[in-house]
């Protein structure tokens, strides 16, 4: 920067960096070099990245500087981002953190990758995750666990743990994750950053490697709410390549941020707030958030989502069922790693898949195949799909009396690495507050709202009606401006 300042460029938010780039006080190359330097300095302690594309990123930065020079820049031009390794990037290795895709270089871009690059954004590399997005801690990565930047003994959450950790540790200005049962919101909460799971169908899934197709959605993980809106502006919209994307106009998500909350009614779902097992630090932070929103003029009402206790059970039938079908494509024939020791085709399939998939992926394939197998389909998949209808109706009813629902993101702050790995069911139950939004297809946002006694971040979840991301951004922004949690940085 030309003017005297002590701030490192890598600490900037997207909107701050955009302003400095526009004013030509910094260049995209300087900014990218600063973030790459930061990655080099702290990656050894965080392990957020699976692939770092330094050379390519600097080429993109040179191109971005030309666009800015020509006066043709947009809000993301010259902004260095990280992309979860489940989103296809043409020519840039995409592994889903699975050994079975260790060598996969996509021949095409996901629609979101294409949109971001057309907007002039820079891709620093691909970030770690639970294998095929199955997990809540990033410990299921086939390559390495990522560490929580706030304390390296703790998990960053998951499955988008690399994306959230990279944002929290200033190893990128923002990132894209994916959320099937909380995989954007929960790691955002555990790492003290902002994460949004958009409405199902709002963002194209073309080029997002499928886990559970009726639940998966791509969304931003950012340092603040303003940045989250800017990334959504770039990635949202209908795509003829994804038949589940919705043909509906995309508003400017930045337009309402600064409007007040006088017209907002916040619903408090009884089943979420009265649930046993809520960590006292989490309860305190969420209570404090309620008080802040009340001071800002929001009104409150109690609501009931009576089928909440069945959401995790429905999810762990539906998601594995869809996964068992989606993951049938990894057979060692067209792409990925093949076991070459086998004589017959069938043997090659079995050995390739058994050697390539990790334990959690196999567990979910077994569970899903069983739930869909002859004689069990109605009892499991059919029943879970009916309960899903009831969960959706709960939300419809609740939104008759309020605009947003407020809850914790997770019952506890981040747990220690290794603490829950022996017991998959305990790990699944930690998704209780985030899973319902995926089943119902509604948008949900995680915003930093406090710290535990151990200094680990705590997130607040806001959920809204289908396609009402606008209200989440407004309430989130107002809350953020009235608090200082998002300004705090981990010591690395």
């Amino acid at each position: 920067m030309n003017e005297g300042t002590t701030m490192n460029l890598y600490e900037l938010t997207i909107h701050e960096a955009h302003r400095l780039l526009q004013e030509k006080r910094i260049s995209a190359v300087e900014l990218t070099r600063s973030v790459l330097g930061r990655i080099e300095a702290v990656e050894g302690r965080v392990d957020a990245y699976l692939t770092i594309a330094a050379e390519k990123a600097l080429e993109q930065a040179v191109a971005a500087d030309k666009l800015i020079e020509a006066g043709d820049s947009r809000p993301l031009t010259g902004i260095p981002l990280a992309v979860k390794d489940v989103i296809c990037t043409r020519g840039l290795r995409t592994t889903c953190a699975s050994k079975i895709l260790a060598n996969f270089v996509p021949p095409y871009d996901a629609t979101v990758s294409e949109k971001l690059q057309k907007a002039g954004a820079i891709f620093l590399g691909k970030v770690n995750m639970d294998e095929f997005a199955m997990g809540s801690s990033t410990e299921n990565s086939g390559f390495k666990p990522t560490r929580n930047p706030w304390n390296p003994d703790y998990v960053p959450g998951g499955s988008s743990g690399g994306a959230a950790a990279a944002v929290a540790a200033d190893m990128c200005l923002g990132s894209l994750g994916s959320d099937t049962g909380g995989s954007i919101r929960q790691p955002a909460s555990h790492c003290g950053v902002v994460g949004l799971k958009p409405t199902y169908g709002r963002v194209s899934r073309y080029g997002l490697v499928a886990y559970a197709s009726s639940l998966d959605q791509i969304g931003p993980i950012t340092k603040d709410v303003t940045d989250c809106a800017l990334l959504m502006n770039a990635i949202a919209g209908h795509d003829s390549k994804d038949s589940t994307s919705v043909p509906r106009e995309v508003p400017d998500y930045s337009r309402n941020l600064k409007n007040g909350l006088d017209d907002i009614i916040v619903g408090l779902p009884r089943e979420y707030h009265d649930s046993g097992g809520l960590d006292p630090d989490v309860a305190r932070a969420v209570d404090n958030a309620k008080a802040v929103l009340k001071d800002l003029g929001a009104r409150f009402t109690d609501v009931s989502l009576p089928h909440t206790p069945y959401a995790v059970a429905a999810y762990y039938v539906i998601a594995p069922a869809e996964a068992s079908s989606n993951l049938a494509r990894y057979d060692g024939v067209r792409f990925g790693v093949r076991d070459k020791s086998s004589g017959s085709l069938q043997e090659m399939f079995r050995r390739t898949r058994s050697g390539g998939f990790g334990a959690e992926v196999k567990r979910r394939i077994i569970l899903g195949t069983y739930a869909l197998s002859a004689g069990y389909y109605d009892a499991y998949y059919g029943k879970a799909s009916q309960v899903r209808t009831l969960i959706m109706e709960d939300f419809q009813k609740a939104f008759e009396t309020c605009h947003v629902l407020l809850s914790p993101v997770a019952p506890t702050p981040a747990f220690k690495i290794g603490e829950n790995t022996d017991d998959p069911l305990t790990m699944y139950l930690s998704d209780i507050f985030t899973i319902p939004a995926n089943l119902a297809g509604i948008p949900g946002m995680s915003i930093p709202c406090g710290f535990s006694s151990k200094g680990l971040p705590i997130g607040l979840q806001l959920m809204a009606r289908h396609f009402d991301e606008d209200t989440l951004f407004k309430v989130g922004y107002n809350f953020e401006q009235a608090s200082d949690f998002h300004d705090k940085k981990p010591m690395l």
């Binding site: 589940t244 762990y316 093949r338 196999k362 195949t369 197998s373 879970a384 009831l390």
Partner: protein
């Protein structure tokens, strides 16, 4: 146990997976526990409730059937573990 070792083996076979003895023991125990938990769904009365497969209601998504750019054969084959004469190569299928 909710799921026997034989059922795990049967399902593994359907899913093209193979397990050693220790894995079969572990998976039947863990998957059994999950299935016991999932049984809670039976407490819900779903008589007459329509199942939901997608949360956003969209009917058929039609578009014009117009050919667009596609991958060149070599690009499509670039990730193939083995290839020959412009085709994916697999172990012999018919003896």
């Amino acid at each position: 146990m909710k799921i026997s070792k034989e059922e795990v083996l049967h399902v593994a076979n359907l899913a093209h997976l193979e397990f050693d003895e220790a894995e079969i023991d572990r998976f039947s125990e863990q998957v059994g526990k999950i299935l016991e938990y999932v049984d809670a769904l039976n407490q819900v009365d779903t008589t007459g409730i329509q199942p939901t497969s997608h949360a956003i209601f969209l009917t058929n998504a039609f578009r014009e059937d117009v050919p667009k750019a596609h991958l060149d054969r070599q690009v499509g084959l670039a990730n193939a573990p083995e290839q020959e004469d412009g085709c994916f190569l697999t172990p012999r299928v018919i003896g």
